[in-house]
């Protein structure tokens, strides 16, 4: 059963502070695919990533990764599973007190008994893959946003994970860095034989590199499909999202009283 799909999510509900965030998510991600989860800010897409990584526990439903139920695991089992996952955080989350080299070496030093010379080879290879071998002596404070994210990517793939998760990998990048990152993400996934899930709201970049897209709105999946299907869809929400229209199913105005009443026009007491 678990052969074809790496991640399987069934009837997933998540409530935070009595506020429902996710309301019945079902999705399955095939091995080897690059999948994008899209939605507006606050639609629960980052929450979904944290549920897959076991950092949050669902209110109900199950999250399976590689056939194992993440939400039923002991601390020990969860940590064993996470060694096979890599996660790229929104702004990289590099350890600010460690150099680029030591950041990438961190997971290797924590989880393997490799000698320093082997670690050095691996770190330089991983950095080479993201084009930053020459920057290994720099500190995170010396890096631009795009470089920091590439270092974080090198760190996330240090242990050759089977699943790589990206939280908003494109936010705040200039167009060149954006193209570089998108490309890299796809190439690394294919070279490592991994599976990638990225949470993003960058439609145009994602459409070029992913195999499958899910749209989340108000805690539910409202649309899904291949990039071509999404481009040609007539579902109003997706159409508004893909084309960046100001008004549509997602209204421009925050819910309010009619304007006339707020301005006390028309004889309101």
């Amino acid at each position: 059963m678990s052969s074809d799909y790496l991640v399987e999510i069934k009837d997933l509900y998540f409530t935070y502070d009595r506020r429902p965030i996710l309301k019945g998510i079902n999705l399955s991600i095939r091995r080897g695919e690059v999948v994008a989860i899209m939605g507006g800010s606050g639609s629960g897409k980052t929450t979904l990533l944290r549920l897959i990584g076991g950092q949050l526990k669902p209110t109900s439903g199950t999250v399976k990764v590689d056939g194992l139920v993440v939400n039923d695991m002991s601390h020990r089992e969860l940590y064993d599973l996470r060694r096979r996952m890599g996660m790229l955080f929104q702004f990289g989350a590099l350890y600010t007190d460690l150099s680029v080299y030591d950041n990438v070496a961190f997971p290797l030093r924590e989880h393997t008994t490799l000698t320093e010379s082997m670690i050095r080879d691996l770190v330089l290879l991983k950095l080479n893959a993201v084009g930053l071998r020459g920057a290994h002596k720099l500190m995170p404070a010396d890096l631009s946003g795009g470089m920091a994210r590439r270092v974080a990517l090198a760190r996330a793939i240090a242990l050759d994970p089977m699943l790589i998760m990206y939280d908003e990998p494109f936010t705040g990048l200039d167009p060149i860095s954006l193209g570089v990152t998108g490309n890299l993400l796809r190439r690394l996934n294919d070279a490592l034989g991994a599976t990638s899930i990225m949470v993003t709201h960058d439609v145009q970049e994602s459409l070029q590199i992913v195999d499958h897209i899910y749209f989340i709105s108000e805690g539910q999946i409202v649309a899904q499909g291949t990039p071509d299907e999404i481009r040609n869809t007539d579902i109003p929400f997706v159409h508004q999202f893909v084309h960046g229209e100001i008004d549509g199913p997602v209204p421009f105005h925050y819910p309010a009283e009619p304007l006339a009443r707020d301005l006390m026009l028309g004889g309101a007491a």
Binding site: Q55, Y79, R82, A93, E110
Partner: protein, 262 residues
């Protein structure tokens, strides 16, 4: 009626919030102790923190100790001289320092210098998702980040307090003996005769260890529990200083009444 209900609700909310925080803090404290094993197996982690918590606090502790000693020398001499017992200046300076001022002032300075640094550092690690990143790499932040800082604090504070007292005695000597002219032999011999190793020095060390546990734990909890925003971290840093200073003074009263009353 509305006012009373509102006040009651506020009070209830205040109490439950703080009980929850206390529970969180206790849980974090126990976890710190449980995850301490790795800190000692990989002592390099603690050494790093010993440098940033202990060594970097040296200057402020030593200079403060010296000046507190100067003041003790001056004030002590002025008072003792009235009764013709300025020879007891050595006792006064040494006892004030090892019993009270050494541990207490060191703890207060430590809260301001190292405690705030710990809170800010951990708060920033949380705000920039470094702690989450560590968890996702299957590295336990309690073992890698929190426990080494805790032990570095517990190890360095008694040493800093001892240094503070030493500098203070030296400061009292400079003012009392070198500048004012109290008899040097009397200054040292009276001090040696009256300061008891167990009664005075060890009790001072015990105080210092208790303060170290309290201040470091407060700083760690505030950092770990801070809201992951710039504002949240700055608030947590302020709370560290306020809470740990009050805690030090409170604990000092309790410990003093247990140790020095018979």
């Amino acid at each position: 009626m509305n006012g009373i209900a509102g006040a009651l609700r506020y009070l209830g909310n205040y109490v439950t919030t703080n009980v929850v925080r206390l529970g969180y803090a206790s849980r974090l404290f126990v976890l710190t102790l449980l995850y301490s094993g790795e800190s000692f197996r990989r002592f390099r982690l603690v050494l790093r923190e010993l440098y940033s918590i202990g060594v970097l606090s040296l200057i402020i502790i030593m200079v403060s100790g010296l000046f507190v000693g100067f003041v003790l020398g001056l004030q002590g001499y002025n008072t003792l001289e009235r009764y013709g017992s300025e020879q007891a200046l050595g006792i006064l300076v040494a006892l004030s320092l090892v019993r009270e001022l050494g541990p207490v002032v060191t703890a207060l300075l430590y809260a301001g210098r190292a405690g705030t640094a710990i809170t800010a550092e951990i708060g920033l690690m949380k705000a920039t998702e470094q702690l989450s990143a560590m968890e996702m790499m299957a590295v336990e932040p309690m073992a890698r980040v929190v426990a080494p800082r805790f032990w570095a604090g517990v190890i360095s504070m008694p040493l800093l307090a001892a240094l503070f007292s030493t500098m203070g005695v030296f400061g009292g000597y400079i003012v009392g003996v070198v500048l004012i002219g109290v008899d040097e032999g009397a200054f040292w011999s009276q001090m040696q005769a009256s300061v008891d190793f167990h009664e005075d020095i060890m009790n001072g060390v015990i105080k210092s260890v208790v303060f170290a546990v309290a201040v470091t734990a407060i700083a760690l909890v505030e950092g770990y529990d801070s809201k992951p925003t710039a504002e949240g971290v700055s608030r947590a840093t302020t709370r560290t200083v306020v809470t740990s200073s009050l805690m030090v003074l409170f604990l000092d009263f309790i410990l003093t009444s247990l140790m020095f009353t018979s």
